[in-house]
């Protein structure tokens, strides 16, 4: 019954959407309606009015920073919800996901790889305004290095490196940092989450320390995402 209903819905939706697509602006069209004054300003050459070279970073941390605050919030909600659900697991069919491994090769390689991953993650987080990547990508890498450690050395040793309470605290703190940077704009007489308009220094074009609030927010997001990933895996792999 459920299957039949889903299939009927699929057929109807497919017919409607494919008929729609036949009329859509062609793929790769250089004069598509989406190319307008908005994208022109986003794609201004050089570091422009935001002090940021990466146009995607300009949008997520400056022009549409409010959406990104919302995005960070969704992540916070998702993890908080997961943590609550996973706390106090007492079921009959309990699963242990990470007991660790005793293999010396695996452990040695992990010891070498984890710092390298972390250095690269730090590079990606701090250079989000100049090159591809940024807080979200770098933060995920930083979190992934912890996940690797957790799977190789086991949840108990990982817990000694990062206690869940500390992870939660860092996560919340980094989110508060985002809001504080936004309120900095208010204190300087501009609007919430304002960057250059509030007087955050744009810096030298292409320099590491440039982009004003964008750089500060990117740093916070990197820390927050790393804490989120680590925290989530700590809770997914064992009882609290």
């Amino acid at each position: 019954m459920r299957q039949l209903g889903a299939t009927a819905l699929l057929v109807v939706a497919a017919a409607v959407l494919f008929a729609t697509l036949a009329e859509a602006p062609p793929f790769g069209w250089q004069e598509a309606p989406t190319r307008n004054v908005i994208t022109d300003r986003y794609l201004a050459p050089g570091a422009g009015e935001t002090g940021v070279l990466n146009a995607v970073t300009r949008i997520i941390f400056d022009y549409r920073s409010y959406d990104t605050l919302g995005e960070a919030t969704v992540l916070f909600v998702g993890v908080a919800a997961a943590v609550v659900v996973l706390s106090g697991r007492t079921g009959r069919f309990a699963v242990r996901l990470a007991g660790g491994s005793d293999d010396p090769v695996l452990q040695t390689v992990t010891r070498v790889v984890v710092p390298l991953v972390q250095v690269f993650a730090a590079y990606v987080i701090t250079h989000g305004h100049l090159s591809p990547g940024g807080g979200f990508a770098g933060g995920t890498m930083l979190g992934a290095s912890f996940v690797l450690y957790l799977f190789v050395f086991g949840a108990d040793r990982a817990r000694r490196k990062l206690r869940p309470e500390t992870g939660e605290m860092v996560e919340g703190g980094a989110a508060v940092w985002y809001v504080l940077v936004g309120l900095g704009g208010v204190l300087m007489g501009a609007s919430f989450l304002a960057n250059a308009a509030a007087g955050f220094p744009r810096g030298v074009e292409g320099a590491l320390l440039s982009g004003g609030a964008v750089w500060l927010i990117g740093l916070g997001i990197g820390v927050k995402v790393a804490a989120t990933v680590a925290n989530l895996f700590l809770h997914l792999t064992g009882e609290d």
């Binding site: 602006p25 309606p33 409010y66 919302g70 919800a81 936004g182």
Partner: protein
Amino acid sequence: MRHLPILLTVVPLTGAFLVPVLGRRPDRAYRLALLSVLLVLACAAGLLAMTGSGQTLQYYVGDWPPPWGIEVRVDALGAMLATFFAFVYLMVVLYAGSSVRAELGPAAQFWYWSLLLLLLAGINGVLTARDLFNLFVFTEIASLSACAIISVRDRLDSMEAALKYLILSAVAGGCILLGVALLYMVTGQLHLDHLGAALPAAAGSYPRVLLAALALLVSGFALKSALFPLHVWLPDAHSSAPSPSSAILSGLVVKLGIVALVRLFFVVFDWRRLVTLPLPTMVMAMGALGIVLGALFAMGQRDLKRMLAYSTVVQVGYIYFGLALLDEIALTGALMHVVNHALLKSMLFLCVGLIISRTGERSTAAMAGLARSMPLTVASFTVGAAAMVGIPLTNGFVSKWYMVLGTLNSGRPAMVAVILVSSLLSALYYFPLVVSAYFGRPASPQAEGPEGPPAMVWPVVGLAAVCLVLGIWPELPLRLLGGVARVMLGL
């Protein structure tokens, strides 16, 4: 003062993020939540005072003017809903302050306050959003935290209901995002006003894309607001949640889809063009079906919370019905009903929560003879039941009366029968409860002592009092919402 619109979301967000920073302390988290909600209520009331004089407050986040940046805008509708929703929130938080200790485990208690604040931020974000993608982001925040405040209860049925709700929310979210993508593809705009301005040109070249986008957005938001027959997730979700969560979910969260659709219909898609489509008629038919069939389902329930949940399907049907009439008076009534139902349904869920915590039962039979031991709760429940049926001097009567007038005014006298029949059906499932509470014989000997902790009883009484006040003096909100309706219809 200039920053008030953004504070509606920033204050609860900061509160929610600070909860884990302060450590795992439920008492601190509760005080933080109370403080944040009070601040939000103050901001919303200030905004209501400003917008009441016909002003609309615009706020460019990051000082980027639209269409480049995100605008947050508070109009009379947004300010009014934000104020009443914050009031409901305050009452629910006060109530939950003493009820969660009994209902939730220690780890969940501490996160519960954070999740409630996140949901409030999501609600206020949707009410103030003026950018289509921003609207989507805050809708997702609200949906996800709405599921989360169900699954905080460590019980199998809550988990399952939350999962069902979550999966259907994900479907709705996918549809909405695809709809946003299609709209952006043919217009290149995301700001609602700029979208509205770009649509006539796009309609010439890409009529089918716009139709598909409209269909996706309407089905997505209708699923999130439980328009019949997309309500299947609602009874499980709302009845298995802890009582304060049920109050917020039924009273406030289902309204968000409606508010989003109001923005879409009256700002983006010009409603004058929409009437050439079968869409208003379809929405009206689905609303009418929800009104009648939802009431029939509610009559069959033996569980108090499930009955109230089906009653929410009915009331959502009313609101959609009133909107789809596209008439000034009916629209005023429908918007008024959004406010009224928020107050009423949250109050009724809190009443039932009190009854459950006292009697330990959740069946309709538990109400028998309760009037002697729980006079304030039963009196509040009576106000709620009378308002749901539409008895004069309650706020429910005012909005239903306006919808009846609007139905006549728009030249559809036959549809009045739907409203009248449904009121009759509501009476058939609400009044037996009230009668048995006053005149019934209690099933078991009742415990002596007070009705419950005062912090749980007085919020309920407060909500009931506001319902009565709005029923006796409805002029001010009606004048405001009448103005909103005229602006929306371009009169």
